[in-house]
Symmetry: C2
Subunit: 158 residues, 2 copies
DNA sequence: TCTAACGTTGACGTTAACGTTATTATGATG
DNA sequence: CATCATAATAACGTTAACGTCAACGTTAGA
């Protein structure tokens, strides 16, 4: 059982942010002590780390993360796969819908990876040009150190 | 030469956003007609597409994109590699600094790719579980369709 | 038990990234 | 050259994602 300050240190979030994520439903509300103090579990910390990952890495808005986390929660078993649905036909429908959503999300991730790799290539190309410039300047610098006087003293006398 | 509305259609940005990006220095200010109308070139469009990519794919803030675009601009030749610096020693220093920054950016991109792939794996795992659930339900459904009457009519007569 | 440190709940403030509206000027077209 | 769709500037509005501050309750340790 952790208090909010420890969770903040573990995750790097501020206490305000942690409460805010609970407020907007991005986090399951933790149990409270008799006095009202929030008591977090390890699962809460891991949940927050997923949220951070989605936020920072994918650049998702917190709204988008809510959808994504719906599946992540199910994945970690914090929530049942098909909760209170009794009729098997509705269950099947729901599962097929989830499969479709997941497929779309996976495709989106592939696309992102592709674009990042493209940017990487551009940056690498550019870095090569920079390195070529460095090499050239270093070469010129060497020239100037090995025969510097010749040009300067030239045409003075003789 | 494009007017702002064509640029908007090409890039998918609104006119407001295009002007805003110019305002905060995220875009080189285009030439103006005598009357003051902005006249964009193909280079401007490509520039904007890079900005969009960095914004959407990497989730960068516009501030962060400014730094990134410093290099991207040099890459497309819209800006010289080492502009008005005359002293070769300062040039070398500058180039080495750029190389360092680029290396850091490349590492950051690698890290992002890694995290995305990790998320992909989790989603794929979860999708497998969903598909297993679908298969199970479909199987049960078949059972119910092949021998439905037997149970219902059973015990009626005979 | 008392107190210092921490927690909670409002409530208002802030910043980035635009949207929207109004007013006025521009430019292609019949 | 008249006009009608566009463009520009200015200014205020909006939303997400928190920060900050005040007032008050809780908790753990001397």
């Amino acid at each position: 059982m952790f208090k909010i300050d420890e969770v903040a240190r573990e995750t790097g979030l501020t206490k305000r942010t942690i409460r805010y994520y609970e407020e907007i439903g991005l986090m399951p509300a933790p149990e409270r002590s008799e006095g009202g103090t929030r008591q977090y579990t390890q699962a809460h910390i891991e949940h927050l780390q997923r949220v951070i990952s989605a936020r920072d890495v994918l650049g998702f808005s917190l709204q988008e993360i809510q959808e994504y986390m719906g599946y992540a929660q199910a994945l970690t078993g914090q929530r049942e796969l098909y909760p209170q649905i009794r009729e098997p036909e509705r269950q099947l429908e729901k599962l097929r819908e989830m499969d479709g959503t997941l497929e779309a999300q996976l495709r989106a991730l592939d696309e992102k990876v592709g674009k990042i790799l493209a940017m990487k290539q551009e940056l690498e190309q550019f870095r090569n040009r920079v390195n070529a410039g460095i090499a050239r300047l270093e070469h010129e610098h060497l020239q100037n150190e090995h025969q510097p006087e010749t040009k300067i003293t030239e045409g003075k006398n003789s």
